[in-house]
Symmetry: C2
Subunit: 200 residues, 2 copies
DNA sequence: CGTTAAAATGACCAGTCGGTCAAGTTAAGT
DNA sequence: ACTTAACTTGACCGACTGGTCATTTTAACG
């Protein structure tokens, strides 16, 4: 959870976390247009309380996104020490995809893309993912012309593919992760038509 | 363009098409929350005129989406007669991706997913894509365990991947189309963990 | 021309939004 | 128990939304 900047009174701290949790749920269900009033009701507080913790809706979004990215970063760090680098990368993509499936917050990410806090955590996660990719490449698990940035960009793709197919089983996205991961493997790789993008 | 239901007066027909074009641009730029007032201003008409052609905003969205899908269907039909089936499938994905890159209307698709007109055109496009995929599979260009529905779902993935990377060159998405298409090829294919979804 | 039905207009409506703030409530230190 | 600063509350504000409709404009036809 994001750290409250100063020492908070006990009720304030409790409400702050309730609001954050409610916001995460509400944004995931209603999209970026979820209203602050609804978030407040869900958290069991008045609207004014929400604005006393987060000055603007934008600030609330930033806090939710920062939480989300920080959780992913923990996973990436843990897997950086796993024995099989290829399996570690695939597991990271599996965990990240599953989080994304449970709560789609990508629209929040683009909404808060310019925020300094979010940028910092995102860069840090990017570095961890790049480390996973470098190890996997060195281990021969993925093709040599694929970079950490490539994989970072591809994280959400498998879930996105399945997002607008209402009747689908919850884990159908694993099928598309497998297809895309096959595209990352060395076997049968064809030359890529464009160079990998730099990060920042 | 979508056909006007009855015979329209000349100014009405002209304004109808202006509104449709303005709506497509405005939605692509502002997202689904683009206001009808803005669309009207962009089309050079009053707000009431928009609502005289499309009773609700929803109806306007449906018309834009239907246009978009119909254009894609023309491309798929044309490529159904191309000599090299593997190249034809790749070209369809290239054209579809490029359209998607120019105007992102996917959020409109999900907004109008339940509409009968949209459903009909979408099913029809799905059939054409499936035909392309079947020919490509028969020609050995793609793996045997990938279906038309798989490819239909994957259409927007390459562009989506790149969407939140602001500084990127416009055609970077071709890199991810190549990676994903490599995942569709027979060489180095690993077994897929989930069965392909049916298309209701 | 003149006539008329079709179409365009924009002020207007009710509802919702993000955000404010004076007044009331409460946790914490003594 | 008393005090006080921290915190919560919800009525309120201006801006904006999708949608309506009485009025005015205009294309089409004789």
């Amino acid at each position: 959870m994001t750290s409250p900047a100063r020492r908070l009174r006990s009720d304030a701290l409790r409400n702050r976390e309730r609001v954050l949790a409610a916001a995460e749920d509400e944004f995931a269900e209603q999209g970026i247009d979820a209203s602050v009033s609804d978030i407040a009701r869900r958290a069991g507080v008045a609207k004014g309380t929400v604005f006393s913790h987060f000055a603007t809706k934008e600030e609330l979004i930033v806090a939710v996104v920062a939480n989300h990215l920080a959780e992913l970063k923990e996973v990436a760090e843990r897997l950086g020490k796993a024995p099989d680098p290829g399996a570690a990368l695939l597991e990271f993509l599996t965990v990240a995809g599953d989080r994304r499936r449970q709560r789609d917050l990508t629209f929040l990410m683009s909404a808060s893309a310019d925020d300094a806090t979010v940028t910092e955590i995102r860069n840090s996660l990017h570095a961890d993912v790049s480390a996973l990719v470098d190890r996997a490449r060195a281990g021969g698990a993925i093709r040599h012309d694929v970079t950490g940035t490539d994989v970072f960009l591809l994280i959400c793709a498998p879930v996105h593919v399945v997002e607008n197919l209402p009747g689908a089983p919850a884990d159908l996205w694993l099928r598309y992760l497998a297809i895309i991961f096959d595209g990352l493997r060395p076997a049968g790789a064809s030359p890529l038509p464009r160079p990998a993008p730099d990060w920042t």
